[in-house]
Amino acid sequence: MTNQSLPVDDPSTTREAAIHDRMQDSLRRLLRADPRAWIGGIAVAGIALLALVGPLLVTTDPEEYVARVYSGPSATLPLGADVLGRDVLSRLLVGGQLFLFEGITAAIFGVGIGVVVGMLLGTNRGRAVSVLRFATDTVMLIPQILLVLLIITAFGASPLTLIVAVAAAQILYTARVISAATQSVTSEDYYLAAQALGLSRGSLIFREVFPNIIGVVLVEFGVRLSVCFVALASLSYLGFSGSGAAWGSMIHENQGGIPLQPFAALAPVAAIGIFLLGMNMLRDSLARALARRTAQ
């Protein structure tokens, strides 16, 4: 990257703001140049839009018997009927909203708590980090899905417990990544200088650490968001969705009908698949742009 659009010492703004603008500008440019960001962004936005406004577009009751079981697509039923003779399109339109909400909420809480825990432990020289390592290694002894299922066994499957279970499963993973990033900040001169000036722990964390690890936090949020969506889709498929028409449970119900009426199972498979692949491309492209910007 040779041609910078803004000089570092722009006289019209403060130096700090200029650097900030330049960083944002180059990030945006890097993303714009990457086709993966485009394709991923369109896929994610398309499915998110379908999930968000879908419930407003439904014309038939998604729980109502409208046609013979596993009827193929027709003019009135563009995606045919499902295992109980219900309209697949209506169910597809109503089944995504809660999924989208649960995934985003779980990721925000899981990553949010994980970032705070990670920064607190990372700035704490001494045993805290090895305690965190021990705790993470312990939890990693079992696959994440088991941890989530354990919480669901205790509290049952409602949208709230699903969000709590999936969010809780992310905290330690995020805390580990963030504490490592925090530790590398705490060995930098500017941090040591701030510390020597006698700044409080809180200002050290929010003025020195956080602004410098924001890229790591963004990438971690992207990773955890995908993990939350994968976990929620799987849980919904396994029968823990907390709502009637959910994409995952639609797939499970209509799986037996794949040879007869594949759309009943494959329409929600496509929705979940396109969404997750798009998110993966978008996240990958963001991670690369951030890495390249840091390298500049």
């Binding site: 066994t153 509290f155 993966n280």
Partner: protein
């Protein structure tokens, strides 16, 4: 001299095992608290809301739930050690009896999938690492990233659609094993579940191996070896791969974790009678004893796997050999 030579390694290995046992104990506490102490009343859940208080308290004392929690925990943990896993709350049969056949089925599935995944993942990762940016590298990475993004059950459903769907019917779409025969005697029913497991586990392994091997190729000693005229295969087999033994062992351990976790969804997709599908049924039926035993069982397997991987890493690390 000999004693001094081996003692730091022995000490590291013993520390690692002690640490692992500590983790298992901590996990047992988490599992016990999550399934036992928090939800309030297991007896009430089992009997339903219509049960009288007398019925509930009778069941509580029958199950030993009226004792102090610490006594219950020690009793439960002691039972796990001697193979007394309790009885299923849903069916009333001993958990060990319930899980015996299922355990064999899941073990067969995971072992076959692992036996394919581990060599394949290491091979693909090494091939992709040898020429960064080559068509091979791009093709492998692209495919891996695509599969990595999808949940296990989606991969399973897509395989069913292609190979057991409307047009092709090469294999059975579900795998309801005959309980009178072992899983290995019913190979046709194993094809799709094994294929799904391999597809979901290979990407992670191959990607990690690729990064590890590529880092070795970027190091100075590889360049020195190349300049000295040592052949590429020999650099790989003599220098690059041995140096990655420790980290690759870790990655293989994580792959086994992937396979065990994947078994939950994969077994459900194919109605495969195993530990994973049983766990899903136990969670829906809130069958606490079964959930506890399966979770602790998988944790114990992973403890053994992770510990072995760490020991292999310690033994393979030449830097640790000379420490006194």
């Amino acid at each position: 001299m000999r004693r001094q030579y081996s003692s730091p390694v022995t000490r590291m290995v013993l520390t690692r095992i002690a640490l692992g046992i500590g983790m298992l104990l901590l996990l047992s506490l988490i599992v016990f608290t999550a399934t036992h102490a928090l939800p309030g009343d297991i007896a009430r859940t089992m009997l339903g809301q219509t049960a009288t208080d007398e019925q509930v308290s009778a069941l509580r004392s029958q199950l030993g739930l009226d004792r102090p929690l610490i006594v219950q925990y020690v009793d439960w943990l002691g039972g796990l050690f001697v193979g007394n896993f309790g009885t299923s709350l849903a069916s009333g049969t001993p958990v060990s009896q319930l899980l015996a056949v299922l355990l064999g089925n899941t073990a067969t599935l995971v072992l076959i999938a692992g036996a394919i995944t581990i060599p394949l993942g290491i091979l693909l990762g090494t091939v992709a690492a040898r020429r960064p940016g080559s068509a091979w590298d791009v093709a492998i990475s692209g495919t891996m990233q695509t599969i990595l993004a999808l949940p296990e059950f989606v991969v399973g459903i897509l395989l069913v659609t292609v190979f057991a769907g409307k047009f092709l019917r090469l294999v059975p779409p579900t795998s309801p094993l005959d309980p009178r025969m072992s899983a290995i005697e019913q190979p046709a029913l194993l094809i799709l579940p094994v294929a799904t497991m391999v597809l979901i586990a290979v990407p992670h392994l191959a990607e990690s191996v690729k990064t590890l091997v590529r880092d070795q190729f970027a190091m100075g000693y590889t360049l020195t070896a190349r300049l000295a005229g040592i052949s590429e295969p020999r650099i790989l087999s003599r220098y690059a791969l041995p140096n990655t033994t420790g980290p690759v062992a870790q990655v293989v351990a994580i792959t086994i974790n992937y396979l065990l976790g994947g078994a939950v969804a994969v077994e459900t997709v194919f109605s495969f009678p195993g530990i994973g599908s049983e766990l899903v049924a136990a969670v829906s039926g809130r069958d606490f004893t079964v959930v506890q035993v399966i979770t602790m069982g998988i944790a114990t397997v992973m403890f053994v796997v992770f510990t072995l991987a760490d020991i292999l890493g310690i033994l393979a690390n030449p830097k640790l050999r000379n420490r006194i």
